[in-house]
Symmetry: C2
Subunit: 306 residues, 2 copies
């Protein structure tokens, strides 16, 4: 149990105990109606914790997003903003956080009804952006991301009380089997892995490069993969994966010349806004874990005004 006095901690983690698997006490989906998604699609998400849509955005639309990304990542005046994560050895941009506040186009993108309506249906409420970013994962030396549940971090380090958030990743390049696509373990979102180890101060400065605290031990991952399997999100540019905040996921590195860029939005229900971090430390900066809980209003298309 955490020291947090105002909220019950249903998902204790970063403790001195051995890592263990706890049951999820929250629903996965909050919808009965068939609005944007069919009953089958909702059931698929409920069971597996993810759903993929091929070509949700056209190549023309992806082109516009790419152009904007190129402009942003070449803008020397912005590179010293904390939102801009640069390569260790040079000033190339690796990620841009809070991109929906930095770019009007990406602000509209996160409100595009083709994605927003799906998230609202699954979470059964209005939503706001907990985190946004674009990743430019380059070819040749793209680094791996080890297995983790995002919720484990958002709960302990950001104070997200419950599992009522969904991530949406929009591919801006083709995802091959070769260039380190996102891998998920279907069904793993129904278990919460309570991880061993105290969170260090300012953990995010390290964990955004390579996460070690808050990752499950090998035995638990082996059990999860044995029970299920691994699925990777392959597809053309413009395809979109929605995944539950607690699904176990990761990605291998990428030595191929193919970059793997994507826009990434985390939608949290307005019924699940942040409290004090359950790890007892100060919250991460707003550009990583937003305290702007204003619900998003949809636009018909990110390219055109209503």
């Amino acid at each position: 149990m955490s020291d947090n006095k105002t909220e019950m901690d249903f998902y204790p983690t970063r403790t001195s105990s051995k890592s263990s698997v706890l049951p999820r006490t929250d629903p996965v989906t909050y919808c009965d109606s068939c609005d944007e998604l069919t009953k089958d699609q909702v059931e698929f998400f409920e069971k597996n914790g993810y759903i993929i849509f091929e070509n949700l955005f056209s190549s023309d639309e992806v082109g516009k997003l790419f152009d904007e990304l190129t402009l942003l990542s070449n803008d020397e005046t912005k590179k010293d903003m904390p939102q801009f994560i640069l390569e260790e050895t040079q000033r190339d941009v690796r990620s841009i956080f809070e991109v929906h506040k930095i770019s009007t186009l990406y602000n509209r993108l996160c409100r595009d009804k083709r994605i927003l309506k799906i998230v609202q249906q699954l979470l059964g409420s209005k939503v706001y952006i907990h985190q946004s970013r674009v990743n430019l994962k380059p070819g040749f030396d793209g680094k791996e991301f080890y297995w983790h549940s995002d919720f484990e971090t958002w709960h302990s380090e950001d104070g997200m009380p419950n599992m009522r958030a969904i991530s949406c990743s929009i591919s801006l390049t083709k995802n091959y089997e070769f260039n380190g696509p996102l891998m998920v373990i279907p069904g793993s979102h129904k278990d919460f892995v309570s991880c061993s180890g105290k969170t260090p101060d300012d953990h995010y400065k390290q964990s955004l490069k390579r996460q070690e605290i808050g990752t499950p031990p090998k035995e638990i991952l082996e059990q999860m993969v044995e029970k299920s399997k691994i699925v990777s999100a392959k597809g053309s540019a413009g395809s979109v994966i929605f995944f539950d905040c607690n699904i176990m996921h990761g990605s291998n590195g990428n030595i191929t010349p193919y970059p793997r860029s994507n826009a990434f939005f985390v939608y949290n229900s307005i019924c699940n806004t942040l409290v004090e971090p359950f790890c007892g430390l100060k919250p991460r900066p707003n550009y990583i874990a937003s305290h702007d809980f204003n619900p998003l209003e949809s636009v018909d298309s990110f390219l055109h005004s209503k």
Copy 2:
């Protein structure tokens, strides 16, 4: 041109010049007859530089190979032999070189006619083992191997004069798209990439962990992939890939729980035995680059005596 006085260096590399692409002056295949392989299969190898056989060995046979590997890698009395490459942080075995001299079973395996006859046909001569090893590439933190041509190293560091050698990798575990399978660039074996940079002394001590000298620059890799594509060697345990000594290949890391173990034999034609290394340094140790040029005699099956 190298300083080597006795042999012409048709493939200068590790020079102070910029990396460049030179034409291959050697044939790829040396056979007219249809012996083990059909004409189509030989043509496929000639054009692409590799060929894959699913289930060349049965799961029972793979089981025997795995048992032997387990015995060897748990043998504390052997772990201090230079042939045993251990993990950096613990005494787990990562690779065992010269395994065909350490294990009778693996000695018979490299002479099993199901593989030896294919190599002899493609190279049009008797062959000997230039290098053998088993790799236990573990799950969770299997490291990537960056793009390289083996011949580039064998030529410069071992003194292999010409391109008349073939590697054979026998899968001892399933190769998924997820666990960092071998990736090749079909057709790349017809170009020789002369690499920039002087070879340091005892380069193998570093390059077996992570190769940097002797790897092509990004622009050349981009051109090669643009001209062709990437193919990965997926398949069940017991499948076998033969690939040309000069094909550009590499593999991504592996964060999955699935290990990726294989037995690896390099067959060199007895018409292509080693001379002084073209880089001008002393040759690598025998367990990495053998000077035992005795031709191999085949056995019907590695499990049973003739």
